[in-house]
């Protein structure tokens, strides 16, 4: 059974159709990439899935239930968690306070403590800086914090918006290793990326979004060797 099923999703901002009717399907345990150029509608799609935008048409089913008009805060409780564009770190709060905020929906202190422990085990760097203000971290550390904080929300489906944005290549590699690890541990992930090569190399399947429409979808490997994709997105 698919974890997320999107049918004919449309999103428009004041007359401009950003997403013009797309179909997506994500199965439990998959790592799926949504790639496309600037302004193709990737972030809009993700925001609509997370409940931050109201779709103007189509349906979204998550775990078999329609969620197209549910507010974000209810989706988070159901395990649909997003790492927002630009990471959304609470700059003046410490690393630990940021992580703690991720567990806002929960009040079982022992489970929160154990989640926190796991995040620190995954990102020892965050533990070193646990009392530092989030805004003083480097870009890579902030991305770790954003992912760690999302993990504190106990995601079943994790939506990642441009995790590579503004980061050095070496750090990007590390972040993607982490993303693969998280997926291997059973968290389903939908990844939005401009860096198509990187995204496809690390995913099981991929969708290509072009001016609000899905033009291709296939196994990540096949997409990587697809003539059109190579030409348009891999610069070959």
């Amino acid at each position: 059974m698919s974890l997320l099923q999107v049918r004919d999703l449309k999103v428009s901002y004041g007359g401009i159709n950003a997403v013009k009717g797309i179909n997506l399907e994500i199965h439990k345990g998959e790592l799926v990439a949504l790639i496309g150029a600037n302004g193709a509608g990737k972030t809009t799609t993700l925001r609509a899935l997370a409940g931050l935008e109201h779709p103007s048409g189509g349906t979204i089913h998550y775990q078999g239930h329609s969620i197209a008009h549910q507010p974000t805060h209810q989706l988070v409780k159901k395990g649909l968690v997003m790492v927002p564009e630009g990471r959304g770190i609470f700059g003046r709060l410490t690393v630990e306070e940021n992580l703690y905020m991720g567990a806002y929906c929960y009040d079982d202190t022992s489970q929160i403590a154990s989640d926190m422990h796991q995040v620190y085990a995954r990102f020892p760097r965050l533990q070193e800086r646990s009392h530092q203000a989030g805004g003083t971290l480097s870009g890579g550390e902030q991305q770790m914090l954003a992912i760690g904080r999302a993990l504190m929300s106990r995601p079943q489906l994790l939506l990642l918006d441009e995790p590579s944005m503004g980061l050095a290549p070496l750090i990007v590699q590390k972040i993607f290793e982490t993303i693969r690890d998280i997926a291997a541990e059973g968290v389903t992930i939908l990844l939005v990326e401009q860096n198509a090569k990187l995204a496809l190399e690390n995913s099981h399947r991929g969708y290509v979004l072009e001016s609000g429409l899905i033009t291709l979808h296939d196994d990540a490997k096949s997409l990587l060797s697809n003539e059109k994709v190579r030409h348009a997105y891999l610069g070959e």
Binding site: L52, H73, V76, G88, I89, F90, R92, Y104, D107, G135
Partner: protein, 363 residues
């Protein structure tokens, strides 16, 4: 000397030292009106009463501006709602004389509703835009109060309402001189203790709110609203709650003001009052309860202290060269500019604010 310091630090951490500190502060607060009366005269006890009302207002605005980061320039509207509610329901205007213990919660509740009324349409606004709408809201309330004397006379218009019932608890009238245990308590003393008790209650509520789940949600919204939503925070309700809570403190303060003064008019609820309360919050340290209290105390006492400039001028130059009331605003403005330049996070900032400014200094 260093030895003494370490001893002092160790002492400060002892639990009995904390209680001793509280006891001393409590003792000082109880004696304060008598000491002030003896040293500076009764008018200064009245200033103390006003200071306590301002502390309540500043703590209320601190919830909206300091905790939730929503810039509200019309906060005095809730003070006005509280004051007029009390005045209308406990004066000869409609012949109603409801008792104080119903008026106080009612004032909080009605102000709370006005808070939601302001909050609901402005949920999508932030920063400058929110400031403009709240500014308008504050003015609308004042203008309404000023003009609701025709066709049906409700507020008595610019003349205001007078002969408002003094605050009574049972048979105890706060406006009369009372003899308790052989000590004479004049009206301003009575009100001082009543206001002090309610101020302490509001401080207690503020501290509990700050450390609650809702307090954390406010902080998240202040720092980054989209991220706050992504954490699973119902930003709409939490923002409305900030407006409502802040407004209810304003309403309580307003009701007390009406009963204390015995008279209200739209004049008292001018935009400058909103700005003054905002200055208290910003000057003291946004989002930091002790800082906000300090700001409120300074900004209510300082302008009064500057009244002595007139006599000082006369003593120095033989005549009054500059009108003291003009000079007061000038000196007040100058003091604020200086404080903001030297201590941009406020006089007594919260650790979170201190972090921000430390960060800016490094980069």
């Amino acid at each position: 000397m260093n030895d003494l310091l370490t001893h002092w630090r160790k002492f400060k951490r002892e639990p009995y030292a904390v209680w001793l500190g509280f006891a001393l502060i409590g003792f000082a607060l109880v004696l304060l009106p008598f000491a002030t009366d003896a040293a500076m005269g009764r008018s200064w006890v009245r200033i103390l009463d006003h200071t306590l009302l301002y502390i309540m207002l500043a703590l209320g605005l601190n919830i909206v501006v300091g905790f939730a980061g929503l810039l509200d320039l019309g906060y005095v509207a809730f003070f006005a709602v509280g004051a007029y509610l009390y005045a209308l329901l406990a004066s000869p205007q409609f012949g109603l004389h409801l008792p104080f213990w119903t008026l106080l919660p009612l004032g909080a509740l009605v102000a709370c509703m006005f808070g939601v009324l302001l909050g609901a349409p402005t949920l999508r606004l932030r920063g400058d835009y929110l400031a403009i709408v709240t500014l308008g809201f504050g003015e609308i309330i004042r203008i309404f109060l000023n003009n609701l004397n025709a066709p049906v006379n409700i507020t008595n218009g610019p003349q205001g309402l007078n002969m408002i019932d003094p605050i009574m608890l049972g048979d105890f009238s706060f406006s009369r001189t009372q003899q308790i245990l052989g000590i004479t308590f004049s009206s301003v003393h009575n009100y001082y203790y009543l206001f002090l008790a309610l101020t302490l209650l509001i401080i207690f509520i503020s501290i509990r709110l700050e450390n609650s789940r809702i307090g954390r949600a406010w902080v998240a919204i202040r720092e980054d609203e989209v991220a706050a939503q992504a954490m699973g925070i119902n930003t709409r309700n939490v923002k409305l709650l900030a407006f409502a809570m802040g407004a209810s403190f304003g309403g309580v303060s307003g009701g007390l003001f009406a009963g204390f003064q015995g008279f209200v008019s739209p004049e008292s609820f001018h935009l400058t009052e909103s700005i003054m309360v905002l200055c208290m919050v910003v000057l003291g340290g946004m989002g930091h309860i002790p800082g906000v209290i300090l700001g409120a105390v300074l900004l209510s006492v300082l302008p009064e202290a500057l009244r002595y400039i007139g006599p000082l001028e006369e003593a120095l130059f033989g005549r009054v060269i500059v009108d003291p009331s003009d000079l007061r605003l000038l000196i007040l403005g100058l003091a604020m500019v200086l404080i903001m330049l030297l201590r941009p996070a406020g006089l007594w900032p919260s650790p979170v604010q201190r972090r921000e400014f430390a960060h800016h200094d490094k980069s």
